[in-house]
């Protein structure tokens, strides 16, 4: 690495170190710490290992994630005293239902998406990175991006330019905070968690416009404005489609409560129209093809992402995929009954299976659809989707008033 000669180099170096910490700390060190240090202590605290056979039962590891099986009053469980146990907020935010879990899942989804798309196109897809079917492809991309030069364009507004990935990551992470993934695995419980999630979704257009403006690039600028148009015109149908779910759930704005209200029937059946509207609007929110208008690569080179390099670009992409994960899990919670399902499969597994299916449905249209045009997209949003979601609100009200649900 060249010697530091000016402040710009210094700032870049510092930024690189921050990225390293941000990525390496939650993704490598914390899981290692929990697996090799916390986990054995937890297991030995909660179960009498001596009474068991000498063979290590690895299924016990699953109980680490189940707080009900742990005894917080146990004096030997000093991990929980230190605030580092599996029930501690730090663990939840950084590792399991939080950022690391979502990031790992997202990077696997990137690989899965490329592989799935390749199969649809008579190709093989990533094959050599990671020996087994290119399973480490997104990690190869990650490490390459980590070791790449960060370029800040001369005319760009450096402060805003560099703050965009952090803001996006923060917003996506905040979205994860209110989404419970099983009755016992959640980061934060709130009676208004659905409302909070929708409020956080409102941040994204501001960030994209900021990115487009700060890049000082015409393609970025047009892309940012397009993103603003798209997200604002799709936020309203999204909220109204969620409204009918809230009515069906008896006015509960708590995602836990909504899932519990679906014990008899999944809401996708009475609120099918709302589910379709939510699906389309969520796809527009995460800019998936056919709604990838803000980053349409044949018109605007890469849209609002044009000037972003190396890990800055990587973090933005990761944040977008985390947002995809968050929206698919919202879909699962709102319409597919969350973690509810027949007994032998645990609740967490049910949730993950459903979410992966929803993500696949989000990904697949990329294979057989061209991109739509901005005016067509906005027309679709304002004319059809709002009408459809209102129709579903009436259906929900009627169902609720007649006492059928």
């Amino acid at each position: 690495m060249a010697a530091i000669t000016n402040f710009e180099d210094f700032a870049k170096r510092i930024l690189k170190i921050v990225f390293w910490l941000l990525i390496i700390l939650p993704m490598v060190i914390l899981p290692l710490f929990y697996i090799f240090y916390v986990l054995p202590i937890e297991i030995s605290c909660n179960f009498n290992v001596l009474n068991c056979s000498q063979k290590i039962d690895w299924s016990l590891a699953l109980y680490m994630f189940d707080p009900t099986k742990m005894n917080p009053l146990d004096p030997t469980s000093y991990i929980s005293q230190l605030g580092l146990g599996a029930t501690s907020p730090l663990f939840k935010v950084s590792t399991f239902p939080g950022l690391t879990f979502a990031a790992l899942l997202s990077s696997m989804v990137i690989w899965y998406e490329r592989k799935l798309l390749a199969k649809m196109q008579y190709r093989v897809g990533p094959l050599y990175a990671g020996r087994i079917e290119g399973i480490l492809q997104s990690f190869a991309d990650l490490f390459k991006l980590l070791f790449k030069e960060i370029v800040i364009p001369a005319k760009a507004d450096a402060l805003f330019f560099i703050s965009v990935p952090f803001a996006l990551m923060a917003a996506s992470g905040a979205l994860l905070a209110v989404i419970p993934i099983s009755p016992t695995n959640y980061i934060a419980l709130s009676p208004y968690s659905l409302l909070i999630a929708i409020a956080i979704l409102g941040f994204f257009p501001i960030i994209t416009v900021l990115a487009g403006w700060a890049s000082s690039n015409k393609f970025s600028f047009i892309g940012g404005i397009r993103a603003l148009y798209q997200m604002i015109s799709y936020e309203i149908p999204l909220i109204i489609s969620v409204l009918s779910v809230v009515i069906l759930a008896g006015g509960s704005l708590d995602l836990m409560g909504i899932v519990n209200a679906q014990s008899k029937i999944w809401f996708i059946i009475p609120a099918l129209l709302a589910a379709i509207v939510f699906y389309l609007t969520a796809m527009a929110e995460v800019e998936r093809i056919p709604f990838d208008i803000p980053e349409a690569d044949s018109e605007l080179v890469a849209g609002w992402l044009t000037e972003y390099t190396s890990m800055v670009f990587g973090v933005i992409n990761l944040a977008i995929y985390i947002k995809l994960y968050a929206l698919s899990s919202l879909f699962t919670l709102l319409f597919l009954g969350g973690w509810q399902g027949p007994a032998p499969i645990p609740a967490l597994a049910w949730f993950l299976i459903k979410t992966l299916i929803v993500m696949t449905i989000f990904i697949i249209p990329r294979g057989f659809n061209p991109r739509v045009r901005l005016d067509q997209l906005i027309g679709l949003g304002w004319l059809w989707l709002i009408g459809l979601s209102f129709a579903n609100v009436f259906i929900a009200v009627i169902l609720r008033a007649s006492g059928l649900l």
Binding site: V124, Q137, A140, F143, K144, F147, V151, D297, L305
Partner: protein, 182 residues
């Protein structure tokens, strides 16, 4: 390596003050750091670079249809992590010069190369980009792109078969594998 450093230390100005023991320690520490941190990191960075070469969408001439065939289903270069055509040059690390570079294109090619972030690699595809090919006597064609950008791998052929281009990607991977991290 350690012995050499001891020699150097002894002959240097600080030799009398430090003594040999400390300098051996320093040498050892350097070696340990080299083995424990720098080498794995180099490996990791190079492994990432090998399997994630994103080419710039820069078509200079007719070889681009063979590049299209390489990303097509029969030759599928995504197996090596090479995307078909990437959007912005800011995120790319590979320039494949698809054939002839004319005098009008040459400054643009250099400009594009300069805008890309380090590390970046260049493959000269086709006879035209190596020597000018059948356009050796043309008034508007550069006799070789290495006048404009540094080239890592040359692929002969007019146009090269897709297998040759994939071979060039593999040669480039070999080259990256031997690189020291910057």
């Amino acid at each position: 390596m350690v012995a050499e450093q001891v020699e150097m230390k002894k002959s240097g100005p600080g030799a009398a003050r430090d003594g040999p023991g400390l300098s051996i320690l320093v040498g050892k520490a350097k070696e340990v750091i080299q083995q424990a941190i720098v080498d794995p990191l180099t490996y990791l960075a190079n492994w990432g670079r090998i399997y994630s070469l994103w080419p710039v969408h820069l078509e200079t001439a007719c070889c681009s249809i063979e590049f299209g065939a390489v990303s097509g289903p029969r030759f599928d270069c995504e197996r090596y992590g090479i995307l078909e055509a990437f959007g912005s040059l800011r995120q790319c690390d590979l320039v494949v010069v698809h054939g002839t570079v004319t005098r009008k294109m040459a400054p643009r090619l250099r400009w594009i190369y300069d805008q890309m972030p380090e590390p970046k690699y260049c493959i000269a595809m086709g006879a035209c980009s190596i020597t000018g090919g059948v356009y050796f006597d043309s008034y508007n064609v550069l006799p070789g792109v290495d006048q404009v950008v540094p080239v890592d791998v040359y692929v002969p052929g007019c146009p090269p078969r897709p297998e040759e281009l994939i071979d060039a990607f593999l040669l480039l991977q070999d080259k990256i594998r031997k690189q020291k991290i910057r």
